[in-house]
Amino acid sequence: MYTQSLSIPDGEAKGPRKVENPDYLAEFNAKIDAGGFIEPKDWMPEAYRKTLIRQISQHAHSEIVGMLPEGNWITRAPSLKRKAILLAKVQDEGGHGLYLYAAAETLGVSRDELYEALLSGKAKYSSIFNYPTLNWADIGVIGWLVDGAAIMNQIPLCKCSYGPYARAMIRVCKEESFHQRQGYDLLLQMMKGTEEQREMVQDAVNRWWWPSIMMFGPHDKDSVHTDSARWGIKRISNDDLRQKFVDATVKQAEVLGVSLPDPALKWNEARGHYDFGAIDWDEFWSVVGGNGQCNVDRLAARQKAWDDGAWVREAAIAHAEKHSVRQQQAA
């Protein structure tokens, strides 16, 4: 992915040209309407570019912050097999963050700028990661419900109009399937265990169910980023995705032998979908606004990792520069 266009003269900002030319705009709209892809050096409206930077970087931040709640359990995994699986999963989350940062960088923003926006709190990440992982079953439930919800959200993004984002998402989705299945498998195994283990699973499901269905975001009628649909970035609405997720999950809960903590959850023959209860949006906005149980810890952990790694980043680049000078002198 090419972050810097060679045709742009020095002094001008990095990234695609910002001239809002009506001919370019018509060409852009025609490409979008025909279901085509926009590539990094193509002309794009400034608002499209900004929307993508916001969305892709928030997505990347979510992956990176998402390593924390699960990383919390790596040293306490109950067996070597589960530890190896969890390590691989957390490594994948890091990888997903990197694919996505790289995709965002093709829009003319630097990795450091993106990261600083996360650390300063200017950029958001998925609020699901501001909930704590209290017992081992949480690791299974995160795979099953949280990654399950993420997959629902992400599959339509594989066809999003911005090429680098779509390609990154194809890669991400392939790997997410492992995440969801390992989580469900972990829970199945716990459900075959003791009464106490089954209670742990139910407790984790009770705590994660509502935050999981909040992951799809506000109801369509309250949603603000409506241009995303017109631009082919968001192809299925929040409510439709949420419904799809609920419909798919009910059966999985049955097979697992757990209940979902919503008395209003009921099959609606006329709609052909499950009805479900009202979502507590006050809780959602409160967590987004920084008042979740773990917001402060999560950012502190990312900040510490960034600060503690500073000398490594500097030493590595100093070494590379010294080496490169020596090579030039030898030549």
Binding site: M1, Y2, T3, Q4, S5, L6, S7, E39, K41, D42, W43, A88, Q91, D92, G95, L98, Y99, A102, E105, S110, R111, D112, R167, A168, R171, E175, R313, E314, A316, I317, H319, A320, H323, S324
Partner: protein, 95 residues
């Protein structure tokens, strides 16, 4: 302290012998050796490749998207370059 970002490298992977290396993404790394290691960790965790190329992104010269018409349109009126341009008798048309 002066802050400096690690340079960007484009990553190309040959998924198996017999196929071309294909662009799959990019990584930041201070030098070529580390770029290869990072690319290995980021892009080949599941047997996705048997060979990796990394190229400094700043060394790639790309065509200008505005030059698309001059560069690529002329091919459109040279349909005689394609085998389907030539209608041959049915008996020999599988040629």
């Amino acid at each position: 302290m002066q802050k400096k970002e690690w340079p960007l490298w484009e990553v190309f992977i040959r998924s198996r012998n017999g196929l071309d290396h294909k662009h799959c993404g990019s990584v930041h790394a201070p030098d070529a050796t580390m770029a290869l290691q990072v690319a290995r960790d980021v892009y080949t965790r599941r047997l996705e490749g048997v060979s990796i190329w990394v190229v400094k992104a700043s060394d790639i010269v790309a065509s200008d998207p505005d030059a698309k018409p001059e560069l690529f349109d002329p091919a459109e009126d040279k349909i005689y370059r394609h085998p389907t341009f030539y209608q041959l008798p049915d008996e020999v048309n599988h040629m």
